[in-house]
Symmetry: C2
Subunit: 196 residues, 2 copies
DNA sequence: GTCTATATCCGGATAGAC
DNA sequence: GTCTATCCGGATATAGAC
């Protein structure tokens, strides 16, 4: 009805909203069904067990990130790329105060299936790998300044963005922007002048 | 039996372990009762509703942090204090890969009671306030070097530690240490020499 | 303060009709 | 592919005995 041609995909879309908003243990097939105007048994037809749905959610995130990486390759230089990475998260924040996939996966890590955990681990590694390359290239070109190794700063940035997104839920969105602004400030190329 | 003199406190202790390990929506009164060798009805006697228990958990964390602040005041200088802050989180990591209270509260924020949310907000502000003072004083004494405002760097550090703790669940403890090492590296006092 | 017993509800899941 | 009907188990919670 109403032109539904791909229920399976719509289920995934609704589930994703609920997932990033309330967590994996915070939504049920009933929630999904109600939003789509179908019965929960219909959801089970497409995803027999909830963990099937869970794995599908994470796997789709991985594919989406992989496509994003390809698109983002066309951006020129360190800062536009870092901004693009941050923008992904900014969208979550603005979309009803959601958190990023890894943020929710990590928090509920000990309650999800092995397969979801494996996917979560892969997604985390893929994101960290991208950031590492970003910092390695950025340093080579002199666009960014940092001490230590690229994978170390990449870990800092990844953790900061994930953490900032969550903390903004408790204390407000301003907190996210404050955090991101200062994160970028610490990474700015060092000017020849001495700072305070 | 076995010398239990304060069941209410023991309940809180067990609940805290479960909470930081599996999340608020990831444990039940049955789990608590089984671990203590009592029935879930007995747990309800001490904490009638689960949200009473939830609020008690967060409030105790706030009191604990307040006491920690007093104790830590005796530490001398910026770095020992920052290390003490990190050590709190290191303990969570080593204790069966738990996360910090705010990390789990933020992730499940949209599923908890108003009162838990209020407490969570207060705890977050208290921790951020402490970090802000730390950076303000540290800068004045020249122990630490950063651009921007103390509350901004405090936000970065708070978010980084929280995020790093979570990410370590997915990819291993080494990730936490890598992150912390590089976080501290970026904050080191700037030497007169030029760096790469 | 803890127990047994019970009530209620909900989430996950399946069978079989349409 | 979606429905109705149903089952099971678990989680929250209360009443009343001990």
């Amino acid at each position: 009805m109403a032109g539904r041609t791909d229920t399976k995909r719509e289920i995934l879309d609704v589930a994703e909203q609920l997932w990033l908003h309330r967590g994996y243990n915070g939504f049920s097939y009933q929630h999904i069904a109600k939003q789509l105007g179908i019965k929960s048994a219909a959801v089970h037809y497409h995803y027999p067990a909830k963990q099937d749905l869970g794995v599908a959610l994470v796997e789709r995130m991985r594919r989406r990130f992989a496509r994003w990486v390809v698109r983002t390759a066309e951006l020129d230089g360190f800062w536009p790329k870092l901004d693009a990475y941050i923008a992904i998260h900014q969208v979550y924040l603005d979309d009803d105060s959601k958190v990023c996939p890894t943020g929710i996966l990590d928090a509920e890590f000990h309650t999800i299936s092995d397969e979801m955990r494996r996917s979560a681990r892969e997604l985390t590694r893929e994101m960290h790998g991208w950031l590492t390359t970003l910092f390695r290239d950025g340093r080579e070109k002199g666009d960014v300044c940092f001490r230590g190794e690229p994978d170390g700063v990449a870990a800092v940035v990844g953790a900061t963005v994930q953490g900032a997104l969550q903390i903004a839920r408790a204390v407000g969105r301003g907190s996210f922007h404050l955090t991101i602004d200062h994160l970028k400030l610490q990474l700015r190329r060092r000017e020849p002048t001495v700072d305070a």
